[in-house]
Amino acid sequence: MSQYYTATDHFVLVPAIMLALFGCAILLFDFWVFPEPKQRKWLLAFLALGEAFAGYGLWQQHTYIAGQGIAELTAFQGSLVVDGFSLFFNWMFIAAASIVALMSYRYLEVEGEHHGEYYSLILLAQCGMYFLASGADLITLFVGLELMALCFYIMVGFLRSDKRSNEAAMKYLLLGGFSSGFLAYGFSLLYGLSGSTKLSEIGVAIARRDPADPVLLLAMVTTTVGLLFKISAVPFHMWAPDAYEGAPTTVTAYLSVGSKAASIAFLLRIFLGPLASARAAWEPLLVFAAIASLTVGNLAAISQHNIKRLLAYSSISHAGYMLLGLVAGNETGIKGVAVYVLVYTFTNLGVFLVIVALRREGLVGDNIDDLAGLMHKSPGYALLMLICLLSLAGIPPTAGFIGKYYIFLSLIQAGRYVLAAAAALYVAVAIYYYFRIVRSMFMSDAEDAGAMETTFGVRVAAALTGLGTLGIGIFPEPFLRFAGQSLIR
């Protein structure tokens, strides 16, 4: 330990170190220690160990912050910060990554592309997410974003012999790179305006400037564009349907919850931090993006036959709801976004898990008709899917309702009645297309009677997502309190 790397620095960095360490270890052990295909389950165990160590580090941060009664703990001269916000999101990432890893094992076996690198990529992507949630410096955030995105580029194209997967990876890479370019441009302008890469110092510098300053506007618009790309909000959503459809389903699941949650965390850090004083300028942009996302996402989802594509459009509309919470801007709204992301994580993982569980030799399982008669074949998964779809649609007593409820409440408290009414009405549209899936599961007869083959890991993941979705809906109090602590400032 020295003045450049203090005990605090280490304390803050432990989870990320663990994630990176185990990520690299899996990469090497894959051919050194466990070269046989059958031994890959040890890699899964290693991933679990890595998550456990990262979780332990996080837990220590958690108890330290709570015990000391401090709001935040900064490290590396203020470029990393541990606060309620970062803890909230990082716990969520641990849950998401673990569930995704659990459901991946059998899926990759069936796809015939089971390689140890996959687990390493999950951990390294999560490492990137860690920096997105706890970064307080433009460079840290940007590096975290790229670390996460690079892992995702590879994972999206993980099915090397599948053309759709390759196409998806290429599209995602090009558009992702494009958006990173925008973001980097915006960041360089922000640096130019303030002379610092620290979010807090940028905030001070921006607050002193005239809000109508054209350079500031340019910096803000380019940053916003880059961020909207990452959360797949309209009009920067074009990559999402293709990437979601082509990627291996487990990766789609990870992409839709992990990457989205991390990007939302990133977006909140930027908009509620340095750009908070320029609210008047970015608010109309976000209102437009939110309403456009709701419209395009919900309407385009209606005509989809591929579930993954349908969920891609639905995830676009959910990005719209999350943005609305930010637009409302009050405490309820920000808390609402946090709750919404948490709920969305469990719910969407549950939906994708059912699709993953459906996959077997000779059945892709991503067409709505593939779900026909699921009720009869395996009622447990049908029930899980039903609960999760009800939650996505926002029907009580599932968790999704709590999320939607907070967003609506915040809009009403902020006096934005038209937005609240529009958001509420889109729920009815969403129900229509979610219930197409329900209809297929419960009201059509199965085309083939083949039972589902599941493994222990998939069942554990199913139980976790189901419990999360129902538990948050019925006993929201502890989760709400947790989300309440996550408010920035």
Partner: protein, 131 residues
């Protein structure tokens, strides 16, 4: 101390102007003064006077690209050693540990590609599934 941006950047501006004038002047001059002959031989690629043979679109083994990419990767990582060397005296042990970790990480990647066979020239017929 120069007072404004104009003053500060005037030499640069002048430099750009002169460069453009020289380049333009040379091309323009040769265009005006030179003799122009047009025939088929003149249109062929210039290869030191020897008649070109074969197609210009030859195919290379993908290994060349792989090696080129790997070279760039490790080369760029090596670049980080220069600033490290500069501040080494100031940072002392911390810099040493830091660079040690950095190199271990690079070595991880190096072992990985080595074991994956990316550096293996000889085995041409590796089935893609074999590890």
């Amino acid at each position: 101390m120069p007072e404004s941006y104009v003053e500060l950047y005037f030499p640069v501006f002048l430099q750009v102007l002169i460069a453009m004038a020289v380049a333009g002047g040379m091309i323009g001059g040769s265009y005006l003064l030179g003799r122009k002959v047009k025939n088929r031989i003149k249109d062929t690629p210039y290869e030191c006077g020897i008649t070109p043979t074969g197609s210009a679109r030859g195919r290379f083994s993908v290994k060349f690209y792989l090696v080129a990419m790997l070279f760039i990767l490790f080369d760029i990582e090596a670049v980080f050693l220069y600033p490290w060397a500069v501040v080494y005296r100031e940072l002392k042990l911390f810099a040493f540990v830091e660079m040690f970790i950095f190199i271990v990480l690079i070595l991880c990647g190096f072992f990985y590609i080595w074991k994956k066979g990316a550096l293996d020239w000889s085995q041409q017929e590796r089935p893609p599934e074999e590890r």
